[in-house]
Symmetry: C2
Subunit: 623 residues, 2 copies
C-alpha cells in the first residue's frame, strides 16, 4: 500500500477505535461475548485488514486471496466488525451477534463466507493455517496466510505441533500474530507479559520471532513488512497488548474475560471514552476502498481424469490398509486436488504408496496427529481433498479436531488403520476400539469400513467426492478379495453375501468380522442351519432398507459382530436403524479391555470369532 | 551408590549388553516387537536401574520408590528385561513376551506391578510423569520420577504441554531422558541427530537440558547426578544414541523399526556379536543386590473424614457445574487424596471452589487438556483421587488420554461442564455433543449425568470411591433442586420422578432434559395423558431393571431425550439395555450441527424441548 504513514496511521487508529466500539456494541446487545479480548487486538486487526492483506471483501473465497484465521475464536465480534468495516456486509448486521437467525455466531463458523474453518477450540486455527499455507504451494498462488492467536492458547500442545511443521516446511507465506494480553479466562496467563518466554520458544522452534508493542501501529506495520520479507521460515509476531485496551475502567483488569458491558450506562461510558480517542484524519484516506485485490492465480485448475477400475483377483490376500494406500495413490494421479498427510506411520497405513508417486502432494507431519488433521482442515477449506491417515487409535489424539471438522463441515477424508483386536500382539494401546463411536457421533460424517481390496478402492473414490467429512476404517490382517472388480458400492449401502430362503438369522459384520461371519456360515450350513450374511461397509449412513429386508426374511433375528467396543459402533448402528420393527439385535463386540495375543486368539477370547457367531445363531434358533 | 566407577562401569556395561540380548531373544521368540528401539537405550536403562534409582524390585508399588515411566512404550522388552535383571521375576518369563497368557504385553500396562500407566501412545508417559512428580509433593515423599522418551515422540504436542507444566511447577524431582536414535517408524526423525534442535527447545521451555552421548556410561551417570542436584526446574537429558546399537548389521539403519530378528541364524548372529561385547568385571559387583531401597515416607496417610450430607433447599436454582465445584471442595476437605486439576476454566467449571479452600492440592495447567488428564493418570496411579475438569467439549482434546486411562484402569475422575446446546449463545465449538459417546465407549468407565445439586454432590462422592475411571457431565444452566438432601443414589441407578397406573409412555431424560420431561409431564397431565418420567443419571452402567419395569408398565413405549448427538448417548444406552424386550425406543436428540442462540430456542430448534416430547408422546399414543 502506497499511502504515506502520516496519513495511514491516523486512519488505522480510527479504524481500531471503531472496531472496538463495534465489538462492544454487538456484545452488549447480545448480553454475552468477549469485548475485552477484542479490544486488545484492535490495532492488529486494523493493520492487517486495511494496510496489509490482499483480498476482496465482496469475494472472500477468491482462491488467491490472503487468508486470515482467527485462532482465538472468542474474539469473533472484532472479526465480524473488520469485515463489515471492509464492506463485506452492512455494519447494522453486527447487532444480530449470537442471535439464532444470524450467521454471526458466538465463535466463527464457515457459515460465513469469509471464515475458512470454525474456531473456538483454542490451538486449532494455527494448525488450519498450516493447511492454507500448504495449499498456496499446491495451487502455486502467492497468497499469504495470517493467523491470530491468544497468549493463553500457547499452552495448547497443538500450537507447538504446528510450530514444528511450519518450520520444517519452511512456510514463509505464513505469519502468526500472538495477542499477548496477559489475561486468560480465569486469571493471568502462564507467562503474562514476559515476552521473552514467547520469543525464545518460537525462535527455538525455528520461526522468525518479532516482539512488538501491539498497540503501536508503526511497529505493527514494520513487523508485518518484516514477515513478508522473511524467507525460508514462518514469522511469529508477538504483540504485547492490554486486555480491554481503550476502556480505562477495564484495561488490564482480571475478571472481565467473556463479560459484555451492560447495555445502558456501562456500555455508553465505554463507548464515549473510545469516541474521544478518534483523531483527525485526511478525508482522502478511505482505507476500505484501497484494499489491494488478490493477484490472479497463474495456474489453471486441471479437471480430474477418469480413474481405472480396481484390478484385484478374487481370493487374493490383501489388507484393506494396503488397498487404501494403493487407492489414494491412484486417485491422486487422476486428481490434482488429492493430497495425503501422514504422522510417521506411512509404511503401516501404506500412504507411502502415495508419497512414492506424488511426493509434492504428500505431507509428513511426523508424530503429530493434531496438526495433521488441522492442516487437512485448512487444505480442505481451500479446495484440496486431503486424506490424512494414521493408526485409527491415534486419530483419537485429534478427536477435538475431528469434532471441529464436523462443525466446519469440511472435506477431510480421514483414514485409520489397525482397527480392533485383530492387530494382535502389539496390545490394547495400538487397537482402535472406539473410533467408530467417535466418528459416528458427528452427524455429518460419512463412516465407511471395507472388508476387501475392491471395496476399499471403490469406497475411497466415493468418499473423496462425497461432500463433507468422512472416515474410513481399515484393518491390519490380510483378507481375501471377495468382490469382483466391477462390483458397485454406495455410501449408505450394504451387500448381502450369503442368502437362502430358509435363513434362520442375519449376521451382520464389517471389516475382519465379515470373514468370521462367512466361516460361521460354512459351519452352520454344514450343520443344516442356513444364515444370511451382510457386509455393512457403510456405517454412517446405514442401509436401513437392506437391514429391514434381511430382518423380515430371517424371523427378525439379527446378530451384529464387530471388532470394536460394544457402544457406538456397528451394533448400535444396526439397532437404531431397525428400531420400531420389533427385531431382536444380538450384539457381539469387545466388552472389556483387551490384551496382547495372536489375532485369532483375540477374536476368540473377546467374543467376536466364528465360533461365537455360531453359538449366537444356535441360541437364537432354539429360542 | 558408593561403588567406585572403575568397578561400576564394566558391570553396567555388561548389564546393558544383557538387556540387549534379552530384548532380542524375547522379540525373536514373539516374532514381533521393537528390538532396535531397545538397543539404543540399553546403557540408559542400565544406569537408571542399577546405579541411580531407589526402589525395591520385590515391592515396586512402594509409595516412596522412585518412578520410571517408559514413555516410548514400544521399547517394552527392555523394560521387562531390566526388571528381570533387578530380580522382580525370573528371566525365563521374558520369552513369553506378547503371548496371550503373559502380562508382558507388546506395550506396558499396569497389569504389571511395576507399571504405573499404560504407554504406547506416544507423548503420554511424560504427562503421567508430571502427575507422579506432583504426587511426591502431595505425600511429602522424596521419591524421584524418571521418564524415558523417544525422539520421534518429541513431535507430539502433549510433550510440550508437559514441558510447560513441569517448568511452571518447578518439578525438580522430575528427570526426563530422550533417546535420540534419529530413526522413527517410517524414516529418519524430524531433527535426526541435530542435538541442538532438542536442547534449544527444552531450554526455551525452562528445563535444564543436558546433551550427552547415550552410550557413554560415565556421561549418563554424570548427567543423572547433575539432574539430581538441579533445583527449581526439571531436567531433560538428551542422549544421542544409535538405533540397534551393538548389532553392527542393523546399527543406524532405516527399515528396522518394529522388526524382530528372525529366530535362528539372524538372531544368533546378533546375540553372538553382543556376547563378544561382554567385558571382565569384578565378581563382587553384583549391582542388583546393591539397589538402594526407597526412603520411608515421613508422613502417615490420614483416613478420610465423614462428609456431611448435601445442604440444598428444594427448588433452589443451582447449576450442576456449580454443585460439582462445591462437591469436590467438600470432598477434598474430608480426604487428603482428592486433588483437582484445571485448564484455565475454573471459574466456569467452578473447580475454583476447590482451589480457594485447598490451593496446595489444586493444579492449574492453563489451556492444556492433555497434560491435565495425563498428570491425573500419574497422580491416580500413585494413590491420589484426581478430579480434572474443563468444558466437556474440550475433554475431546484429550480423548486419546481418556482411552489410555481406560487401558490403565486408573482412578481418574473426569468432569466436563457446559454439555450440549443448552449452553446457548457461545455456539457449537463450545458445546459437548459427543462426550457421552466417547466415554461410554470405554468398557470400564462409569458415566454419570446429574440434573440437580443434590444428585451432583451425591454422585461426586460415589464416583470418587468407585474404583476405575469415571466421567461426570454437568450443565451450564441453573436448574431447580428436585431431590431432598437425604435422597440416595447408586452407580447404575435411576429415579422415577413421575408415575401413575395409566402412564402411556416412559420419558427418559438426564441433566437438563429431565426438566423438559417434567414440563411435558405437566402439559400432558393437564390434557389427560399421564406419562412416566425417569431421571437416568447413570449412563454407564445403566439401570436395566428399572427401565424394563417402566417399559412394561407403559406399554413398551420409551422416549429418550438428550442434549447430545443421537449416537452413543442416552438413547443408545437405553436401547441396548432394553434389547430383547420388544419395547420401542423413540430417540429425541440433536441430529445436526447446532448454532448460536438462546438455550431455550436451541432446545426447541434441535428437537429436545418439552414440546417435542409432548408430540412424541402423542404420536406414540395414537399408534
Amino acid at each position: 500500500m502506497a499511502i504515506d504513514r502520516t496519513l495511514l496511521i491516523p486512519a488505522l487508529k480510527n479504524i481500531a477505535t471503531r472496531l472496538r466500539i463495534d465489538s462492544i456494541r454487538a456484545t452488549s446487545e447480545a448480553a454475552s461475548g468477549h469485548p475485552t479480548s477484542c479490544c486488545s487486538m484492535a490495532e492488529l486487526m486494523a493493520a492487517l485488514f486495511f494496510a496489509e492483506m490482499r483480498y476482496d471483501p465482496r469475494d472472500p473465497r477468491n482462491p488467491d486471496a490472503d487468508r486470515f484465521i482467527l485462532s482465538k475464536g472468542h474474539a469473533a465480534p472484532i472479526l465480524y466488525a473488520a469485515w463489515a468495516e471492509a464492506g463485506a456486509f452492512d455494519r447494522s448486521e453486527l447487532l444480530k451477534l449470537r442471535q439464532i437467525g444470524s450467521d454471526l455466531e458466538g465463535h466463527p463458523t464457515p457459515r460465513l463466507p469469509f471464515v475458512d474453518v470454525a474456531t473456538g477450540s483454542l490451538g486449532q486455527g494455527i494448525c488450519a493455517a498450516i493447511g492454507t499455507a500448504l495449499n498456496a504451494r499446491r495451487i502455486k498462488s502467492a497468497y499469504r496466510t495470517y493467523v491470530l492467536l491468544g497468549d493463553g492458547e500457547s499452552a495448547e500442545g497443538s500450537v507447538w505441533e504446528a510450530a514444528n511443521v511450519g518450520a520444517l516446511d519452511a512456510l514463509d507465506t505464513l505469519c502468526g500474530i500472538t495477542d499477548v494480553n496477559a489475561l486468560g479466562q480465569s486469571g493471568p496467563t502462564m507467562w503474562q507479559h514476559d515476552m521473552n518466554q514467547f520469543a525464545r520458544r518460537w525462535s527455538a522452534f525455528g520461526w522468525h520471532a518479532v516482539v512488538i508493542d501491539g498497540h503501536d501501529l508503526n511497529a505493527i506495520l514494520d513487523a508485518l513488512d518484516e514477515a513478508r520479507r522473511t524467507k525460508g521460515r514462518p514469522t511469529m509476531i508477538l504483540a504485547r497488548t492490554i486486555k480491554g485496551k481503550g476502556v480505562s475502567f477495564v484495561e488490564g483488569k482480571d475478571g472481565w474475560h467473556g463479560k459484555a458491558f451492560k447495555k445502558g450506562e456501562e456500555m455508553e461510558r465505554a463507548i464515549a471514552e473510545l469516541e474521544r480517542q478518534l483523531v483527525p484524519e485526511s478525508s482522502a484516506t478511505n482505507l476500505a476502498s484501497q484494499i489491494l485485490k488478490p493477484a490472479a492465480s497463474p495456474v489453471a485448475v486441471t479437471a480430474p481424469k477418469t480413474v481405472a477400475p480396481p484390478a484385484y483377483k478374487l481370493g487374493d490376500m490383501v489388507a484393506t490398509r494396503e488397498a487404501y494406500g494403493a487407492a489414494i495413490a491412484k486417485l491422486g494421479e487422476s486428481d490434482a486436488r488429492v493430497v495425503a498427510l501422514d504422522a510417521d506411520v506411512k509404511n503401516s497405513t501404506f500412504s507411502e504408496k502415495f508419497q512414492k508417486s506424488l511426493p509434492d502432494r504428500f505431507h509428513e507431519n511426523f508424530i503429530a496427529e493434531q496438526v495433521m488433521i488441522g492442516a487437512s482442515m485448512g487444505l480442505a477449506a481451500r479446495g484440496a481433498i486431503p486424506f490424512p491417515s494414521t493408526f485409527a487409535c491415534f486419530l483419537t489424539r485429534a478427536a477435538d479436531f475431528i469434532r471441529m471438522a464436523a462443525i466446519s463441515n469440511v472435506n477431510v477424508k480421514l483414514a485409520g488403520s489397525h482397527a480392533g483386536v485383530s492387530i494382535g500382539e502389539d496390545g490394547p494401546s495400538q487397537m482402535a476400539l472406539e473410533d467408530l463411536a467417535i466418528c459416528r457421533a458427528e452427524p455429518n460424517y460419512t463412516v465407511l469400513y471395507p472388508c476387501d481390496g475392491v471395496s476399499t478402492e471403490r469406497l475411497v473414490a466415493l468418499m473423496a467426492y462425497h461432500p463433507g467429512p468422512a472416515y474410513m476404517r481399515t484393518s491390519r490382517p490380510k483378507t481375501p478379495v471377495i468382490y469382483s472388480n466391477d462390483e458397485t458400492f454406495a455410501i449408505g449401502g450394504s451387500k448381502v453375501l450369503r442368502e437362502s430362503t430358509g435363513d434362520v438369522a442375519t449376521v451382520i459384520g464389517a471389516g475382519v468380522t465379515v470373514f468370521e461371519a462367512l466361516k460361521a456360515y460354512d459351519q452352520l450350513k454344514a450343520a443344516g442351519t442356513p444364515i444370511r450374511v451382510i457386509d455393512l461397509y457403510s456405517l454412517s449412513p446405514v442401509d436401513r432398507d437392506g437391514l429391514v429386508k434381511a430382518g423380515r426374511a430371517t424371523g427378525g433375528r439379527l446378530i451384529t459382530v464387530e471388532d470394536h467396543y460394544a457402544t457406538g459402533g456397528l451394533g448400535d448402528a444396526v439397532a437404531e436403524a431397525v428400531e420400531g420393527t420389533g427385531f431382536t439385535v444380538q450384539r457381539l463386540a469387545v466388552r472389556e479391555i483387551p490384551r496382547s495375543g495372536k489375532p485369532e486368539e483375540l477374536l476368540e477370547r473377546f467374543g467376536i470369532s466364528a465360533s461365537h457367531i455360531v453359538n449366537a445363531v444356535k441360541a437364537f434358533a432354539t429360542n
